[in-house]
Amino acid sequence: MTPIPAIVWGVSLVATLLPLVIACPLFVSIILMLTGGKLPARATTLLVGAGMGLCALFAVISAYSFLTGPDSLGALHVVLWNWMQVGNFTAQIALSLDRLSLVMMLVVSCVGFLILVYACAYMYDDPDIARFFAYMTLFVASMLLLVLASDLLAVFVGWEGVGLCSYLLIGFWYGEQANAVAARKAFVVTRVGDALFLLGMLLMATAVGSLDIPTLLAVGPHAPSTTLTLGMFLLLGGAMAKSAQVPLQTWLPDAMAGPTPVSALIHAATMVTAGVYLLARLHGLFVLTPAAMLACAVVGFVTILLAAGSALVQTDIKRILAYSTMSQLGYMYLALGCGAWHAAMFHLVTHAFFKALLFMAAGSIILRVHHEQDIFKMGGLRKDMPWVFTAFLIGSAALAGLPLITAGYFSKELILGSAYEVSPIFWAGALFGAFLTSIYIFRCVFIVFWGGHRTHAHGRSGMAMALPMAILSVLAIAGGWMEMPDAIANVHIFSNLLSPVLGALPQEHGTSLLIVGSLVPIAGVTIAWTLWRPRDVAPTPAESPAIATLRADWGFDTLYDRIFVRPFMVLAHLNRRDFIDRFYDLIAALTQGSGQAIARLQSGQVRRYAGWIAAGTVAALCLAV
């Protein structure tokens, strides 16, 4: 019996604050759960605001003191306790802060804080507000654990934790059967990825002997290359499911059944990017397996185009954003596959800003038009809600990557540049994706905000909703200015920040790519305007079988339903009574039947008895003679 290992508190401030960053939302969550909804809504929102504020504050302080501290280029480890130690395998609950996790921690805590503040207003009238925030804060805690954990197994705790919270939040309005079903689908599909992730961990743990990420990165390269490739493929599978990449993307559109702040936080800004973060953390191993990288790039490439194509024909505003998230995540995967870690991380950050903004704006719209989500039933909202319109426009511009003024432009250009480096096909596809992106998002903008009124908007968005949107609007524009190509301005704050972890930024390309990349979004917006500019007749969604397929996610859902779900369920129902059990019943029935058959001999008819006696005599004589 080893003594309980003493909790190792680092001497520095950061080591003290780091666990608190996770503990703050966790405690809020526990308090909300234990009080079981008995707190009044105001107290709940105050508690959440305070908890998340502290969390963000601690994150910022620890980030600041880490960067100004002595080993700001390395990593800081805080070992909390030994989780498991069996034989020569050890897993620790330990946190580590390096520049990569620092960026991610800041995104999660700060964007999380903003979205939760927004959610305080959004969900204020919901009777189950305590449950909502219990899940939300638990999600933030899990996400921070995922980000900060230094052991892959502890990452997995956060990984599954965010999955569970995502499940709970998608199904938050469980009264609708469809929501609960969507929640289950999201969990099960991501769980497929989780199983692959787990297998990948087992492989790495067996090959390397530890799941500690620094150890993995140090010892992993010496493992046999087939092992490494297989392991990376498995981890990639896990990451893909989490990030809704083709072919495991089907859960994300359905996940929009949750409240809009959930979509903003989980299904746009943080959880879905966990896969990107994971691969970036393991880039040292990833770079050694070209096959896995190629697969990753291809997956990203395909996802960009498929998701953008689907987004083009959606009618539900949240589903448009969901497909756009998928498509943007495709960019990140493409970047990862091309070895452009900086680009992937940069796009992750800017995407978190503008996509959260878009979801918040969409949420404000939805709230004010009586939970109507069909864009063709909205229209002319520009005048009703000018501020929301501004925010949505900024977010759309950033998503489309309008040149120079938006964050999305710079991060996307970085990705396009690195894709060109690997293969012009990737570049062309991604560029076409960007073209589609600008079309579909501005289609949405023009239909929703221009034209005649088709719905009545009421009320105003309160301060608590407006402020986070304002802050994110600023970030969605200015966030890109921390990393600009040399051709525009020599600003490399972001890549300099991450270089110690991810290596130096690769050489840049000429301005020709940049110019093409700048023109494409503008062309897209123009086409969107010509197609969907306000006319006299109200716009209606185009209908054709091809479009229906496109709208239904290229038929992936139907396909999976036909191939996996339906046979599985049908066979399960056929075998509901368990054929092995039936087999034992058969034995029982046989025994019983033969018993009855023999009992029938006991007929009470003397002649039959005599016959049997005679037959027995004959048999005995046969033996004797």
Partner: protein, 103 residues
Amino acid sequence: MNAADPNGALIVAVILFSLGALGVLVRRNLLFMLMSTEVMLNAACLAFIAAGNRWHLADGQVMFIMIVAFAAAESAVGLAIILRMHAAGRATLDADTGNRLGG
């Protein structure tokens, strides 16, 4: 008297026994079944006597006497049962209705 060939007697005994068995199996009338039983018993007697003749021992006849005693007891009881069934209102002496107890 000259000793006879017991082989022939044995074959006759066997045939009689089989006939008796056939009677028991075929007839549904209890009376005939009892009669067939008597035939079988007689066949056994014949076999004993033939064997007694062969070895020139009295045991065969002793056994015959035993069988006769047994046959007497058996037919007494059997006939009593038949009478009883008849008196109880059983319309026929059909043995196959004997499983309907309660008579």
